[in-house]
């Protein structure tokens, strides 16, 4: 059924590039149709079904709104098993980059240097932008979900690191 796919639930093309405004207004529209408030006087069974649909719409919105989760959803629903628990193999270049960032974080922490944190923060932001560009190309242009899956796993590491950095930044 069409509504079971997150993209078709919102009437959006199944692709990585996203029109955020279109997603937002489509989410509001779907939410308005299925929200339990629409069925406040219905039976318990009906309310339960409405609640499940509303929860699904909210979860679909949450996942499509976030670029990493969106890429993950596209890969996984396209039949790619990301094996996030078991497969930790990474491209050597990415591993090197990771180690470099870790060292930069250690140094910034030791030196309590706001500048060093800011430099690292900029690097992470740039890396995210680059990820977005690469994944748009892999998913939307080449349709290469297998390679996209590998990039998604790298992005998950990047994301974890980014959050760690956020927590440790002294001005935050």
């Amino acid at each position: 059924m069409a509504a079971d796919d997150y993209f078709s639930l919102f009437g959006l093309p199944r692709q990585f590039a996203l029109d955020r405004d279109a997603l937002e207004s489509a989410w509001r529209l779907v939410a308005a149709r299925v929200h339990p408030d629409r069925f406040a006087t219905a039976s318990a069974a009906e309310k339960r079904v409405a609640m499940q649909w509303a929860a699904r719409a909210n979860d679909a919105y949450r996942q499509l709104r976030d670029p990493l989760l969106r890429a993950k959803y596209l890969c996984e629903s396209g039949g790619i098993d990301l094996k996030t628990e078991t497969n930790t193999a990474m491209a050597p270049a990415f591993l090197m980059q990771q180690m470099e960032w870790r060292e930069m974080l250690d140094d910034a922490r030791d030196a309590k240097s706001a500048d060093a944190f800011a430099t690292l923060d900029t690097e992470i932001r740039d890396a995210r932008v680059e990820m977005t560009r690469v994944l748009t190309d892999l998913i939307d242009v080449r349709g290469d979900l297998a390679t996209a899956g590998e990039k998604v796993r790298e992005w998950m590491f990047l994301d974890t690191f980014g959050r760690e950095l956020e927590r440790e930044r002294p001005d935050h």
């Binding site: 339990p36 006087t41 069974a45 009906e46 409405a50």
Partner: protein, 622 residues
Amino acid sequence: MALLQISEPGDSPAPHERKLAVGIDLGTTHSLVAAVRSSVPEILNDAEGRALLPSVVRYLDSDARIVGYEAAQAQATDPSNTVVSVKRFMGRTFDDVKAEGLPYEFVDAPGMVRLRTVRGDLSPIEVSAHILQALRERAESVLGDDLVGAVITVPAYFDDAQRQATRDAARLAGMNVLRLLNEPTAAAIAYGLDHASEGVYAVYDLGGGTFDVSILRLTQGVFEVIATGGDTALGGDDFDTLIVQAVCATAGVALDTLSREHHRALRVAARVAREALSDADSAVVEAELGEGTIVSAALSRTDFERLAQPLLEKTLDRARQTLRDAGLKPADVKGVVMVGGATRMPIVQRVVGDLFGTTPLTDLNPDEVVALGAALQANLLAGNRAPGEDWLLLDVTPLSLGLETMGGLVERVIPRNSTIPVARAQEFTTFKDGQSAMSIHVLQGERDLVTACRSLARFELRDIPPMVAGAARIRVTFQVDADGLLNVTAREESTGVEAAVTVKPSYGLSDDEVATMLADSVSQADSDAVARMLREQQVEARQLVESVGAALAKDADLLNADERQAIDAALADATAAQSAEDVDVVRAAVKALSDSTELFAERRMDRSIRSALAGRKLDELA
């Protein structure tokens, strides 16, 4: 309630029929009830024309109780039997409340604290139900008919225990709860619809005992809460406590040597003085503490504002944190709505205005705005909306929900500020070979340590088939409904063996307890009430029989032969029983038919939603 009346999503079921529904603001210091009458929300006053009902219940020796003003007058003379600010005890344990140093005799009880009165040990749920009953009677006498339901407001920052307790109190008061609505969201509805605004708004809600701050985005009839924060133990009461402490210090009176009566008298005097300081530059706190001892202290507004500063700073910190959670800066906020009687203090308006760089909106009465918004929502939910008048609320969870994992740490399953309803699942596995049970501990809060979060429920998943460690796949699903109430299920999935448990957190009243308490209250009622109940059941049975018949005519293809047979049998029984003179017979037939058609109702609903979604157009908002 008829089971199978499905209308197109977004349409009201019976537009010609107006159903009475009210909004109730169940406050710490006072409560209000409001309803939409001739398309305008208005507060329903008591017989003396007063809008507010002090949230005070006095229990008497006899079987009687007094709620409201008269009860409030007795609080200094009969403090143990006169319960004020009961909202502060909702969903709280003995240990939670005894630290507050309030003049009551608290009794430890499983789940929730009890208050010792002449009428026995009462749960805060029962006391709240007595306040709600008074409001319900007021509403029914003003509106001249029975209510179909009520929207009850709760602080946005209420946790699951406090919400469950509020819902139980309403059920105990014999009310059908259409929705638990967050207070700031209710205020936003009242303001937003009034001003036809669009953009980002903040609601600063400082009530008698609770503080909330919510950031909302208003777009095309959608009220979307982006983030919410607060403190359920910070309100006007706490400012009074500061005054009491200051007065005692000046007068050389040791607070802990005061009797309950004198402590209450001093608190009342402090509150009167604080309220006077909203208009005057100085006030006198005066109370008689025993024979001839009169404490009298002058308090200037400047003195008071200095005392109040740390509490105000606490609220501003919360507001800043909530803005950060929303990913916004103060300048992004177009307006700040002030809610709660405590925002009448000029210093509050000043500091909030400074933080957001805008003059706070105060044109609706801060005591009434929550009840008015709740009335609007109740009217909408009851299906009374006028053509073209429609809106949708998208609220969030105030606190993160998670599970205990190894080492006393909390694994977050649903982060705070998730839009509700929300369902999220997490997989866990076994730790030992052949492990046949797993204990699941549900927690709420923002800290990483189990001991720093509120424990909501513990349960065990048993009968896990024997497997090597790490092979089982236990899927734990958290679901938060539109009322913000949590439900947890667990299931072992790898072998296809289903061992599922559903827990509702256990601090409230069980369904059986509520049923017993309600039955007790009905058995004392007069025969009119019994006759009315029979008529209502008969009507319900007839409606249900009709709607099941109509549903079968339309969607019988959703049922297999066996399912169809079971429904036909229940339908025949209900048809035979619908005119019976014994209320229990009719009720049993209605229940049997409801139960047997539950799956059918779910499938029809699913079909109806799917077709509504397939037929949507992007340029129309339902």
